[in-house]
Symmetry: D2
């Protein structure tokens, strides 16, 4: 890290900063200008040390140099991570398409939509059994009953299941039914949950928080990986901005950035990322253009009867058209 001293500070304050850095095990180099001294400190940076230095007399600011994540970084592991889910692999150059309704609403309806999305080209199923809802008066999911429906749908369709986990107390239960455990955007910094998921042997789909920087999001992955679970799939689902025509602003630049900074695969959720079904197909196409490893899309056989997120759900017919276009685009991406 770099320590920028204030203008014309007494020599003694510079010495004290130097001393503290050396105590903490840093290699220190001074750059003295006419008005200002800058101190380069090379060593194992932590937030606590940066904070400590920043509060010392004469220090104007502390500038971090090295990124704070390690095990998620490309420097730590140069080969891209691939995550196997059933017969599918995420991160191997294929496009995975995960589809299904926002919430599991009952057995017949779920099986119907599961078969529809399978025939349209989906490679995995999604469906919420536990739902995080802004209002305590909204439908909160079928809970374990929903998980059973998901597992049964897997048996019939052969497609792996993705579902959200919100509560560290029920990880074992959820893990016993599903193939991929999803951490929702609102829980991206629920550090207790992340650490527990790091002890599981299941792939984790880690959604970006609506106000998380890319660095914070990678740090959330670092929590999971450093607790023992490397099977992390990143998922961009839109960030909160001033624009309110869309529910969120889908930040597709996250796709190449995650690929440049980490070894993890990344998929995109154009349903939450826009909140409007008419925008889902164009943004799915854009995500493929950006180089993502997959899509997660909400599909409902009758969006106007959906118990949640109807306005952003595709009909099975629109989903089929989207998959066709996505596959054509992906084929064009791969030809050299």
């Amino acid at each position: 890290m770099i320590i920028v001293m204030e203008r014309l500070v007494p020599e003694e304050q510079i010495k004290m900063v130097e001393k503290k850095l050396e105590e903490k095990g840093f290699n220190v180099h001074l750059s003295k200008g006419v008005e200002r001294t800058i101190i380069g400190a090379i060593g194992e940076r932590t937030q606590a040390i940066m904070d400590a230095i920043e509060t010392m007399a004469g220090v104007e600011k502390v500038v971090p140099i090295v990124q704070p994540f390690k095990m998620a970084s490309k420097e730590f592991k140069t080969n891209p991570t691939t995550v196997r889910v059933g017969d599918q692999v995420i991160g191997d150059g294929s496009i995975q398409v995960i589809a299904g309704p926002c919430a599991v609403e009952g057995w017949d309806k779920f099986l119907e939509v599961a078969q529809m999305v399978k025939s349209a080209g989906a490679t995995m199923l999604r469906g919420g059994a536990f739902k995080p809802r802004t209002s305590p008066y909204s439908f909160q999911g079928l809970e374990e009953e929903g998980l059973k429906i998901l597992a049964e749908a897997r048996r019939i369709t052969g497609l792996p299941i993705v579902s959200e986990i919100m509560d560290p107390r029920i990880i074992d239960i959820v893990a016993s039914y599903v193939d991929v455990m999803q951490v929702g955007a609102r829980n991206m910094q629920n550090f207790f949950l992340l650490r527990e998921l790091g002890k599981c042997n299941k792939p984790i789909l880690l959604k970006r928080g609506p106000s998380a920087t890319i660095e914070e999001w990678i740090m959330a992955a670092e929590y999971i990986i450093s607790s023992g679970n490397e099977q992390v799939i990143m998922c961009e689902r839109g960030i909160r901005t001033f624009e309110n025509y869309t529910r969120n602003t889908l930040d597709l630049s996250a796709v190449p950035i995650i690929k440049q900074l980490t070894h993890l695969p990344i998929i995109v959720d154009p349903s939450h990322g826009t909140g409007k079904w008419k925008l889902v197909a164009p943004m799915a196409m854009a995500a493929v253009g950006a180089g993502c490893d997959g899509l997660i899309v909400e599909v409902h056989q009758n969006p106007s009867e959906a118990m949640s997120d109807g306005p952003q759900s595709l009909t099975p017919e629109n989903f089929r058209m989207m998959v066709d276009k996505v596959q054509k685009l992906h084929a064009a991406m791969k030809q050299e």
Copy 2:
């Protein structure tokens, strides 16, 4: 709610929307213009019904009219809620000043700073025992050991204790030591946690999430209240914006807005709200000017040795000067 139909839609689509609204128990009124029809629907709105209507053929948009919160609203309870904590009352026109270090770091140090802030005018103590940290490699708190230190400091100083709860599995433990349980900004939409806290008989300090709208924040309070606990204290601590000179942008307009929309008391955290100790006192003063019921401020006897959040911590001496000014300003606010 209001349903805006697209231009020149067939009569039949209008009829279908009308029918669905009536089925759901709404009172329906049509406004027909030359090009466009608008439908007013009066009844118990839920997100699911709004979503369902929005996906029907011919519907351009659905506009909510009534605010989604009930038990937190001023219409539900016109008298301001006051929350008793030990000998203190939050929301009765007084200014409560909650102070202490970000994290409890050990018995001697905590007792020392507790006595310093008490003598400077603090009315409650704060200190973290469980710390949410962006990095898995940062200090995560002393955990139950920290809670014991907090409780012992209360015994000696007589000041009530505020501390953060992050995990629904340990609510009983935390509740057995502290007087006010704080929900941190990152957990504002941890709905499982909120519901469990609604079953407690302890005051809850509910921090605003960094990207939460005021409406979402009030809905989080609604989760707690509707689960049985009315003792909710709102806490504005800054929102995430493009400005990065400060750690967050302290949104002081939240103070009068919460007072206009709800019956709940509201305090302000100028330490997290700015991230820089030089801005803490001016923003504390601004918060008093805006009409808040209290402040929560980080104080450390030696900020450059703090294990977390040193750069935003006041020294006890600076804290004492801040409290003096705050008290003068508060006195001026109350004279008519």
Copy 3:
């Protein structure tokens, strides 16, 4: 528009609002519920009338229903607008690629890069003669000398020229040299400039302001169109958000939204939209996936010698590779 009255307002206040609306020429419909009355008002909405009603006694809020733009809307003109520039057409289903350095730095260098981008597949040239710079101490452009270089490069390469206009006093001068006049992001709401450009007979490239909503951006186009010039090309170039890994957050959902709401063509600027050359090609691909009509990209033969925006400039070689991929993707988009 919809007027939502407060709970339990006296009949008299409802009457006064009704009366005022009728005076202003609105068709008024009341919806009375048990607690609340809602008034639907159909007619020519303006901001002034909305504001006036919102301040009347008993009014809780006024909700606009109809979008404020007219001449830019798809309802006003259902056929997509195509803009002819030299031999090229923007908006006819082709992909236009506009390329060149941020600033014109001299004759030899500009001609060299112009020929390089032409051979790589660019269809138009860009280059700034007047540069808006955050600092008064930065290079401000070659001014008219730069315009002459641009015009001469067109003569030699045959490619049309796009350049920025910042000052209403020199529109005639700029218009005499260039083929498309660009309104920069910082001038998107320079209404005097927009109105003057509406009186020109030149295509206008209208960049989105960094904090402009899509609606405000379309209103800026409305200024130009309503002053007499329909040849407006929208350009998404990123919005300002909390994320600071990228210079801006490129909002690609703007592409399908502009196509759904207006008849105007839209291009994308992945150079300013990301600020990092390594992200330019992936985001150009994403933009094509989203369905844009073209790209505007910064290219410099030696980015480390560029007088501005080097870090986001492609080398001619990288540009050539990007164009190849863009063309493949665009071909895949068009096959049905």
Copy 4:
């Protein structure tokens, strides 16, 4: 500035960066760690040089150290700048209260409100003659006719006049009528306008742009000062964030920050900063608590008849109550 090299770069790339920095006149210091080299460069930084270095082979990033503004900085001029306007002084520890309608709508109405706000304690008058409006169909102001009304109101009331200038072509005309020329938020980076205003001998009220960082805002002041005019008054008026309950988010931390970084006075606009008249008085109080030098507030004798910005205008009676409270608070602020 600091140049961070990539991990394990060849010695030759380090040498090339060093050489380039020395050519540009920088004093260079290397800090070599095991994996990474950091280069400290002390000298006159410009954006162009930073950009150039950032694009060189082996460079990971360039970190600016010194703030980019000079003449606006406290280091350049340690005494606070005071701006004299008629008999009033902004920045001398007093609270100036500038009040009046958003737009001048006619002689009788303006004179009436001018006399009302004077009797309530306003120390200057505001009123728009040229209005920047999002829609081309909104009222755009009375133009020169409005300026004449303003000047005449000054003659009668004795209060100085503040009014907005939008177009560099009419600076002389506006300057001949008003005492303070206001640069509106949308023109904060209209650099041509700023430079022309720097050649005037009139105080300039510089509103912060809705998406301007504090650094960019100070750079806008730097444009004016470096062109010859030191009489700049900063005005915080809210920034654009995701929160949409308020029109903007008033960033009161700007008040102490501007005072810490520059020698310029700063006032606050709680009318635009909130967009709701019920929030104006509390936020005016908060601004005084934060230590501002004045307020600018919209007042209209009949907000529901205002031609613009009615919802955020106070009635003269509410304005009087606000001024009373502001004066009490300001008195409390000044007693030591």
